[in-house]
Structure formats: C-alpha cells, structure tokens
Symmetry: C2
Subunit: 228 residues, 2 copies
C-alpha cells in the first residue's frame, strides 16, 4: 500500500504527501486496531466545517445564518461525503479488518465519509491549512457551482409547509407560549410541532410572525440534522 498503491490514490486525489504514512493512517479503519483514522477524522471534520463555512460566507453575502447553515448541511453530510469518496475510488484503498472486509465495509457510507474527512486531516498535518482549503474547494467545486442561495431563500415556514406536503403529513402546528415586553417592544415565543418528529422547537421574535419563522427554521434544522 505504502508504495505503488498509495501513489495511485494520491494521483486520483491530486495530492502529493510529504509523509505518505499520514495518508495510510487516514485510510485505516478502526477495525484494524489502535493506529486508525479516527483522530485524523476528528481533525478533518473541523477543517471541512471551517473551509465550507468561510466559502459560503463569501459566496452568499446576503444569506442569513440560517440559510448558510442549511447550505453547509446540504454540502457536508455523510451522503455527500461518501459520494465524493466513491467518485475518487477511495473505497478501493481502505485498510479494513477482516470482519469489515467480509461485510463490505469499503462500500459503507459511514466508513467512506470518515475516510474522506481523515484524508483532509492528514493533508492538514502534512501541508497546513492553505493546502487544505485549496483541495477542499476543488473537491467541492462542482457542488458549489450547482449551489444557489435561491433554493434556500424561501422563508422557513413555507419550506417546512412544503416539506410536510411532500411527505403527505399534516401541516406544522404553531402555538404561542409567551408574550412579553411593552407594546412597542414585544417579544413572542412560539413553538412548532410536526408529525415527523417528537421534539418541539421554539422560536422567539419581535412579532408573532417572526417568532413562527424562527420556530420553523429551528424545526428545519432539526429535521435535517436527524436526517428525517
């Protein structure tokens, strides 16, 4: 692996490691024992989050924090990372224990996605943050081009309502919990409840409508996080 195969994977990934042993560690699943890719994955995950956040902040100067969060979650998730890993045939180079090998671990989304994050961590250790930025933005170039804030610009209540309709379930329910402050400076607290999840989300705002939007936004983020 260290020699010919590592070189091939580096070529696939357009990388050139000074310390190729870092790449080997990044490809090593925990089923192989102690010297595995979990620590590098921890590091890579945080780098990926930062690089994509920075890119979205720059690319969408008018997008709210809620839109930026949703855009990032749409780019950086297990599905999308596993897809990128497959595109670059990372599965062929994974170093798996015999159990994982037999059960097809090299095809599993979670293992592929973790390995990709670990490769980012390894690249950071090898070449620093700027090399990571360049490589990550290149890796995501196609996805970033397709991305427009338009998809995310519909207000959260409309988005949530459309989601419920597409799933064929009852519309979300909003309920006023508290209302405080003087007439010209009121604060509303509203809960949002849907049939898709047991949790209740709460939003606050200077008007009932704003509080509802905020509650709907929380609910969208929750559903996205829970992959519902």
């Amino acid at each position: 692996m260290i020699t010919k195969e590592a070189k091939q994977l580096e070529k696939n990934l357009r990388l050139n490691f000074n310390q190729p042993e870092l790449l080997v560690t990044a490809l090593t699943h925990r089923s192989m024992g102690a010297n595995n890719n979990e620590r590098l994955e921890f590091l890579g995950d945080s780098i990926l989050g930062f690089v994509i956040a920075q890119k979205l902040y720059d690319a969408f100067p008018d997008a709210s924090e809620g839109v930026l969060s949703r855009l990032r979650a749409s780019l950086v998730n297990q599905d999308s990372l596993a897809g990128l890993a497959r595109k670059h045939h990372i599965g062929d180079y994974l170093i798996l224990g015999s159990g994982e090998l037999k059960s097809g671990g090299f095809r599993r989304d979670s293992i592929l996605s973790d390995a990709l994050e670990a490769i980012i961590g390894a690249l950071f250790r090898d070449q620093g943050i700027e090399a990571c930025q360049t490589w990550i933005l290149n890796l995501f170039a196609e996805k970033l081009t397709e991305l427009t804030a338009d998809n995310w610009k519909k207000d959260p209540k409309t988005q949530l309502q459309e989601l419920m309709q597409s799933r064929g379930v009852d519309l979300p329910e909003y309920q006023l919990v508290t209302m405080s402050g003087l007439p010209h400076a009121q604060s509303f607290q509203i809960t949002c409840r849907t049939r898709l999840i047991d949790e209740i989300c709460t939003g606050t705002g200077a008007s009932r409508k704003k509080a509802e939007q905020s509650a709907a936004e929380q609910m969208l983020l929750l559903l996205q996080r829970e992959k519902i």
Copy 2:
C-alpha cells in the same frame, strides 16, 4: 460606540481591528435588525471548532477521537463561552434592541456566547486565520492548562456509570442486538439505555465489551450535547 468605546473593548480583548466596523457588527444582536452578528457567529463558530480541535489533537497525542470530542465539548459550549465573554466584559458593549435591553439580554448566556463567536468571525475577516488561532489559544490558555486528558481517560462505561450514580438514578442497561461474522471476526451490536434520556444509543465492536464501551461513549456524547 465606534470610537472611544470600541477602543476600550479592543483593549480589553487585546485586539486591534483594521476595520473596527466588523467589531461593531459582531456586537450587534439580531434584535437590532438586519445588519447583526449572526453571519459572523456562523463563521466564528466553525473557526473556534477547528482551532480547538487542532490544539487538542497536538496536545493529546494518545487521546482517542472520543476523548478529543469530549475535551472539545468541555471547552467550547455556551456556558464556557459566556463565562469568557463575562471575563472580558463583552456584555457592556453589546448593541441590543430595546426589548432585549430591558429584559437584560446583555446578561444572557446565549447572547454573550454568540457575540464571542461573532468576534472570532470578525477577527478572521479582519486579520485571517493565524491571528484567530493566536487569539483563541490565548483566550483559552487558562482552560487549556487546567485540562488534562486524565479526567477523560476513564473508559466510557465507567464514566457513564459514575454519572448515573452521581445523579442517583439506576445504572445504564446494555443489550445485545446483533452478533455477526465468523468466530474469529465477529461484530457485536449493543444498545445502551439510561434513565436520563429517552433515546437509545448503539455501539458496535469486535467484542461484546468493545461494543458496550462504544455504546456508552455515544450515550456520554448525547448527554453532553443535550446538556443533561
């Protein structure tokens, strides 16, 4: 604010902005309307996650990914960020809408913690990632010195058990869900359930014991995330 007061806060924070208007935005709560600190907070949150991850990765070369995650969660959370914001009197400089002002928003943990993250985002926009790294590590210097991996080295099952005992509730229950693979390469799946939360966590491993540790680790992370 832009002139004398901003200078004083910069002094408190040992910062020197080229574009002081970024600092003003970082202090502006959404209750003030459109040009608020939420986008900078989104950016700052991701930078903080990366800088602390990198530091912990370096400082604790023997810590597992689970330990690193717990160490980071213990450093970067709303309580700890609000505490740091208070230490530097950030509350005195917040720019809040009249409703938030009257209800004491400058004392609220969430508002203080968000403002601190936004200041990190503003510093990044003003001076780049290296300045952020230096400032963040200085900000967390005391907390980092106090931190030892020892507190986190107890295995997850022991930690979880001690947590249950300290809360005076029944011990966690572990249950075998599936067992697969050949005798020399088996994989176990175990669930962990506690009285503190309704959710069930699942762990897998090459032995029953390893799967239980993994399930306990998931449960610890969940309880930490949910602040239970």
